[in-house]
Every structure is written in structure tokens, then in C-alpha cells.
């Protein structure tokens, strides 16, 4: 018999099971990227070894438990305790009132705590789960956009927030497509980690137009877009041509009202085939920079929060 408080270290004995468990986890993580089959296999390996490990741990001498704290009895009675206490314990076993009080205190405390903290935590994490709402924004008459040239448009997405809500988009008028004006509107958020991409080429800053919170800077001719942070490069359609970005630049939907261009909601693009008004855009739900929208790695981002 070992004493409950012996001096032996209760370290787990030498065991290979944790190694198998770790291998299982690695297979699972690799599987998440490669194939669900491998992931499932990894999960099974991990589970099996976890079971063996736990069985191993629990087979030996149990760990010492913390000593029970004897419930306090009334002051005077406690003084001449030992004799009375034993008599009490011999009495018939029943559901004691102190047990009831203990459980109801814990239960009620839990309920009250939950009622108080749930709304507060919800208030904190809500933005991660709520639709953020993006209003269409007026970028001015379409005659301000010369055909085949990019115009750098900046505007405040939400005037009540001020400058912090300023966004930049590259807008190109592609001429008419089936009797409708066609635009390419590319976001300046690099698809690597979100730095502001710059137009590669001279701007025509003399002809800058400003109205309200909108500024339109025409370009002379640009050869694509480049990112100052880690050197990502894109062509004029926003396709990635070099550097770390994982997809093409995001685009914005647009609408025309009374001859004016309105910029709409952003969406993500894996790549674009062709160019100009006849381009085929491979559209995906708006995703954060650095996230793959297609291919194997897109499985790492199965759901996107509502934007």
C-alpha cells in the first residue's frame, strides 16, 4: 500500500503511446490539406493512441486526491466534536440538506453568471458573425471615366466614420457590352495580406477631380499593379503574376443610375480569363486576403463570416 501523500513523483511511466498520438495529429493536419481520407485516417490513429495512452495513465496507482474539507458544524458543537461526529456518521444515510444547498448555490450561481455574461460576450464577438452592410457609393457621371484607362477612385465608405473608412478602387471603363456600359473595378487590397497595391505607371494628377468625399485621379497608362509590402505583382486585369499573393485582386460590383456610376459590394476573384468587357471573371464569395478561394487549400476556409 502506498500512502496517499508519498514522496514519489507521479510522472507518467515511459510510454510510446503519446508518440503515436502525435503522429496521428500530424497525419490529420496534413490530411486537411491533401485529402479528407487521410485526415480521417489521422483522426482514427490519434483516437486509438489517445485511448491507449489514457488507459496506460489510469492503470497505475491513482494520484492522491485533495483531502475532503469537512463541513463546518455550529461553533459550540464543533468544540466537543469527535464523539458526536461519529455518532452522526453512523446514522442512516440520507440526502443531506447541506448537499442540496451546495448544489442549488452552484446551480443558481451558474445561471445568474450565465445571464449576466452571455449578452456582454455576445456584444464583444458580434461583429464576427453579423452582416456588416456595405452601401453603394456614388462615384460620379460615367463620362468622367475615359474608355480603356484606369481611374484611381477614393471615397469614404461611411461618412459618419470619417477618414478611417476611406477606400481606394481602380476603375476602368471598358466601353459598351450588349448596349450596357461595362466597368472593371478592382480593389486596392493586396490578395496577400491586404497592403494597398499601387498602379504601375504614370498618373495624370493635373486632371484630378474632387467632389464630396470622392477623389478621381486619372492615369496615363498603367502596366498593372504592384504591392509595396512583399512585392506582389498583378496584371491589368488583377491576375497575380508574381510574388506571394494567393489569388487575383478582389473586385467590386457596380450599377449605373441616371448616368452615374455606383460602386457596390466587393467579391473575390481566383483569376480572370481574357480582358476588358469580354473577360471571364471567376467569382467567389468575398474572402479575407491570404485565403485561397479555390483549389485544395480553399478547404481550410469552409465558411466565411457574413460581410
Amino acid at each position: 500500500m502506498t500512502e496517499p501523500h508519498d514522496d514519489h513523483p507521479h510522472v507518467p511511466g515511459p510510454s510510446l503511446w503519446p508518440v503515436g498520438f502525435a503522429v496521428g495529429i500530424v497525419v490529420l493536419l496534413v490530411g486537411v490539406i491533401i485529402s479528407w481520407w487521410v485526415a480521417g485516417l489521422g483522426g482514427l490513429i490519434a483516437l486509438a493512441f489517445a485511448f491507449l495512452w489514457v488507459r496506460d495513465l489510469t492503470a497505475g496507482t491513482p494520484l492522491a486526491h485533495a483531502p475532503e474539507v469537512a463541513p463546518e458544524t455550529g461553533g459550540a458543537a464543533a468544540a466537543d466534536a469527535p464523539a458526536t461526529a461519529t455518532i452522526h456518521e453512523d446514522a442512516e444515510e440520507r440526502y443531506p440538506r447541506s448537499k442540496f444547498l451546495e448544489l442549488s448555490t452552484l446551480g443558481l450561481g451558474g445561471v445568474i453568471g450565465g445571464i449576466v455574461t452571455a449578452p456582454a460576450i455576445g456584444f464583444m464577438v458580434a461583429p464576427a458573425f453579423l452582416k456588416q452592410g456595405q452601401k453603394d457609393h456614388d462615384l460620379g457621371p460615367i463620362s468622367d471615366f475615359p474608355e480603356g484607362k484606369y481611374v484611381i477612385a477614393t471615397y469614404m465608405a461611411d461618412k459618419s466614420q470619417g477618414e478611417v473608412s476611406r477606400r481606394t478602387a481602380f476603375v476602368r471603363y471598358n466601353g459598351q457590352l450588349k448596349g450596357q456600359p461595362s466597368f472593371t473595378i478592382i480593389s486596392n487590397h493586396c490578395a496577400h495580406l491586404g497592403c494597398p497595391v499601387q498602379a504601375n505607371g504614370p498618373l495624370d494628377e493635373k486632371n484630378t477631380k474632387t467632389f464630396g468625399d470622392v477623389t478621381l485621379i486619372p492615369t496615363v497608362s498603367i502596366a498593372g499593379f504592384g504591392c509595396p509590402c512583399h512585392g506582389g505583382q498583378y496584371n491589368t486585369e488583377g491576375n497575380r503574376i508574381a510574388g506571394p499573393p494567393v489569388r487575383a485582386l478582389d473586385r467590386y460590383a457596380f450599377s449605373i443610375r441616371n448616368g452615374r456610376l455606383f460602386i457596390g459590394k466587393p467579391f473575390s476573384v481566383s483569376h480572370v480569363d481574357g480582358a476588358g468587357s469580354s473577360a471571364v471573371i471567376h467569382k467567389w464569395a468575398f474572402s479575407f486576403p491570404g485565403e485561397h478561394v479555390n483549389g485544395l487549400e480553399s478547404w481550410l476556409y469552409p465558411i466565411q463570416p457574413p460581410h
Binding site: 477618414e163 468575398f286 479575407f288 481550410l300 466565411q304
Partner: protein, 262 residues
């Protein structure tokens, strides 16, 4: 009962000790502090074992300078940058307090890693101190979180774009990444709420967590005692027994360690 009149000297001693004894009688705190400062440590403890206390000092400096900066800083997109300029250029010694907080942040992180390195190299994370290692890992993560959230606060171009990149790196974590990114910036993009969010996390949430974790960390250090260095003869059973150092004194934590001059 006949009481002897105290001499002048005794009376003066009494007057000095009275408040201390008063406190001790009502709280036991004096005894607790003495227990903490003069607890036994192995006689062959090493200077590297002061790195933990150095980290603690760095944290206290951050907490104090941060509190003072909070008296002048305005966590609002329209005034944050200007309030930082005001602190640096106009307020008396503002540059000093800001500089201490900014450079101290790096010192804190570096010391944390050095302390962790010493614990690792001494093998001090082994039974029964595994739990303290785990608490240490949580402290490390919280400390790095402080660095990340604090970097946005100057609200200049570096701060803004570094945070954009940092948030988007969080966003690339599998499965929950996109939600984490949207939680951190309080929306799809950095917006007016992002700065105050980071400020609240930086000055209230994480420091509170760190303070609580340090409490647990030190509780375990005191409860379990510190380890001897791996080359310790004493711990190997070939040196003098029971905390006796080669020169016959008992090693102690706290102030007396410096007097031993080893």
C-alpha cells in the same frame, strides 16, 4: 500587574514597529512577505534564475508607464495620432514615459524569452513544474498579444499597415481564421471601432489576464521552490545536504542572496 517602564530606546523601537505589528496582527501580511522574501532556495542558485524577476520588473514598468500614457492618449481615429504627438512633444517628460513604454515593450518580450530559455536549459519545466511551464506559455502568448495590440495605437502609417497585415495573417488561420480577423477589427475592414477595440484589449483585457497569470505563476514558484542548476552537486546528492552551501550558510531568496557575494 507591575509593568516596567520602557527605556527611551525601546520606546522608539516600539514606535517604529507598532504599525508593522498592527498590520501583522490584523492580516498576517508581514509574515507572508517575510516568507516570500526569506524562503529557502537551493544554495547554488544561479544568476540566470533572476531572469523571471527581471521579467516581472519589466511588466510592472509597462503597467505603470502605460497607466500614465492612458491619461493623455485618446483612442479615437481622429485624435489618436495628434494625442501621441502631444505626449511626445508638448507634455513635460512625455517623450521619456512614451519611450520607456515603447522600448520597455521589447525588453519585456526579450526577457520573457530569455527566462523561458533558462527554464528550458535548466530542465526546470520537469515534474512537478509542468503546470508552471503551461502557465508560462499562456503568459508568453498574452505578452505577444500586448505587443500586437499596442502597435496600432500610435495610429500612423506603420501602425495601420502593420496591423492590416497582422490581422490578415490571423485571417489565414484555417477554419476560424476569417472569424478571428473579423472579430479583431470589429468588421470587414479596419474601422472607427477597431482602434478602441485594440485599446481596450491592450490596456484592460490582456494586462488583467497577465497579472492574474503572474499571480498563479509565482504561487507555484513559491509552493514548489526553484530548481537547482543541472550541474548542481547538491541536487545530485554529492554536495552538502539540506540547503547547506559549501561555506556552511543556508541559501535564501530575496535580499540576503546579494550579501552572500558568490
Amino acid at each position: 500587574m507591575a509593568t516596567r517602564r520602557l527605556t527611551r530606546k525601546e520606546q522608539m523601537q516600539q514606535a517604529i514597529l507598532y504599525p508593522v505589528d498592527w498590520l501583522e496582527e490584523r492580516s498576517g501580511l508581514v509574515g507572508a512577505v517575510k516568507y516570500f522574501l526569506f524562503r529557502k532556495v537551493p544554495g547554488d542558485t544561479n544568476w540566470f534564475q533572476t531572469l523571471g524577476s527581471a521579467t516581472l520588473t519589466a511588466f510592472i514598468v509597462q503597467a505603470l508607464t502605460g497607466t500614465i500614457l492612458a491619461m493623455y492618449y485618446k483612442p479615437d481615429p481622429n485624435s489618436a495620432y495628434d494625442s501621441i504627438q502631444h505626449i511626445t512633444n508638448d507634455i513635460w517628460a512625455g517623450w521619456l514615459v512614451r519611450g520607456m513604454h515603447r522600448w520597455g515593450a521589447s525588453v519585456f518580450i526579450i526577457l520573457m524569452f530569455m527566462h523561458m530559455g533558462r527554464v528550458f536549459l535548466f530542465g526546470a519545466y520537469k515534474y512537478p513544474r509542468e503546470l508552471n511551464w503551461i502557465i508560462g506559455v499562456l503568459l508568453l502568448a498574452s505578452g505577444l498579444g500586448e505587443g500586437f495590440t499596442g502597435y496600432l495605437l500610435p495610429w500612423d502609417q506603420t501602425a495601420y499597415w502593420a496591423t492590416v497585415v497582422g490581422i490578415n495573417i490571423n485571417g489565414t488561420a484555417p477554419f476560424l481564421g476569417p472569424f478571428l480577423a473579423q472579430f479583431l477589427q470589429g468588421g470587414t475592414y479596419i474601422n472607427a471601432d477597431t482602434l478602441s477595440r485594440f485599446y481596450a484589449i491592450h490596456m484592460l483585457m490582456i494586462p488583467g489576464a497577465i497579472a492574474a497569470l503572474i499571480g498563479l505563476h509565482l504561487y507555484l514558484v513559491i509552493r514548489l521552490g526553484v530548481t537547482s542548476p543541472p550541474w548542481s552537486k547538491e541536487a545530485a546528492g554529492t554536495g552538502p545536504l539540506d540547503g547547506e552551501t559549501p561555506n556552511g550558510k543556508v541559501g535564501r531568496a530575496g535580499l540576503s542572496r546579494f550579501r552572500r557575494g558568490r
